[in-house]
Symmetry: C2
Subunit: 319 residues, 2 copies
Amino acid sequence: MEKIIEIVPNFSEGKDKAVMEAIVGPFRGLDGIKLLDLEMDPSYNRSVVTVIGTVEAVGKGMVESTAIAAELIDLRKHKGEHPRMGALDVLPFIPIRGISEAECIELSYQIGEAIHARTGIPVYFYAKSAKRPQCENLPDIRKGEFEGLAAKMRDPFWKPDLGNAPHSSAGAVAVGCRKPLVAYNIDTDSSNRKKVLQIARRIRFSGGGYRCIQAGAARLEDRNICQVTMNLTDYTQTALYQAFEAVKMEARRYGINVTASEIVGLVPKACLESSLKYYLGMDEEEELNLDLEGIVKLAKRHLLLRDFTESKIIEYYLD
Amino acid sequence: MEKIIEIVPNFSEGKDKAVMEAIVGPFRGLDGIKLLDLEMDPSYNRSVVTVIGTVEAVGKGMVESTAIAAELIDLRKHKGEHPRMGALDVLPFIPIRGISEAECIELSYQIGEAIHARTGIPVYFYAKSAKRPQCENLPDIRKGEFEGLAAKMRDPFWKPDLGNAPHSSAGAVAVGCRKPLVAYNIDTDSSNRKKVLQIARRIRFSGGGYRCIQAGAARLEDRNICQVTMNLTDYTQTALYQAFEAVKMEARRYGINVTASEIVGLVPKACLESSLKYYLGMDEEEELNLDLEGIVKLAKRHLLLRDFTESKIIEYYLD
């Protein structure tokens, strides 16, 4: 089985379609690689790109793409709502299939080095690839943003892992391996944002809830309902079904009902499988022999997933 | 309102009733203080004492009690299954009523100093009273036990907060403020320990579950059933009802039913109140106007508490 990884590079350009098309160019039409998504956010002035592929193809494409971004994006002229320190701001590596976390960390080192060698952009290794505790958390690295980078790098505590000073126009980049993050929202039949926020507070880690749930409340203006909006930071620890059932349990307190749920972006097949096993009364270790169509059908039934198709499952793009 | 605290001193003597009676003597018949429990464990060779009272009475009684323990317990001759470093091994302070956590920490410093002044026993401030990160976790302080104390204290990293060297026969003591810990078990109708352990794993923090739940599985031999056995390390963050409902939810996977639950030792009234509000459909901020009798009745109904009476609620002993 080929080693497949996902990368989700974030670039500091969210308005100019032509610039972003040039930057993602190296991911198009190459063997062994697929551009799954290019999401441009003008107010953030930032784009999030989702790519999967083999180790070799992704590495080659990513170095090319970074070189183009360094040429076309000038942080000295960049403004946007989202904090940023680089043209390519952050580059997460996510193991998908046939590759261990340790291999993925090693790969992030190799590609970080290749990017630095090609462009001169200094690199911080972050998340699971962090070589120092202060580099585990991206917002800590990015604090002070592009404008504060030169001063920050003179502090030995914040010296980059590769390089000594910021790239004059492209800043710096954080590169590292992390778990797949699942963006998951649960619709309620309530328009009371305060109560839905109470539900979110109870289930999230910061409120004493589940270890790998970050959660808040959001109003869907067009339907006049509120949803619990979540990130599952590690679905292998806290499962989708736990988030779904915990929201239902907390909602009962207020006489609020759960009407549907949705996955934003892509989800690994294993994330759905492990939760379906709960509803099917299976042990974790038992094999669930379902194709993508079967998984979608049962996920809709048990998790009330809406707007969900096979194309939301990462494995749809493989094979 | 008077400031009421609970202390739970652990002494390294679990066999000799006469010795323990002498040690708890200062807690008996004093105004403003009540000895709630003296639990002697012969195989651990350790006793756990539970006392509540006013700040002044508890302080006075505790210094006296420590002085007697230092006279009657000789760690050089002590053997038991439980790790220990002192005659008085650990002294937790728990805020109960009318006292803030900050005041409780301050009180632990004052009483720690009084104990050290009276007996010469060196003191480590631990838990919320820790003055250094390495002293937050009791097992870290106690590692090496009594026999390793002298060498450990020569390492500047492990110098005690008060004193420089172990007391020759009474060792050292950890003193500090912590949250009330609620020991809570949930009975199932299953005798399958493996499956009940799976349930426990799913709900506990270390398995991706709730932030303040430690959990395992235990078999009740006489009834041939298994229970999920838990510590709630901070009920103000993770509530009793969340533990109870999460166990029911996980148990459904295996067709296992929850038949009852039990609180081991004492529980603060506020812990029950906050969970009853969930079942009554009330907001957290709403006032629950119930006396102890009413709380017991509803806790039995909604949490299926067994062997539960008003005398399990700390406030029963106040007023």
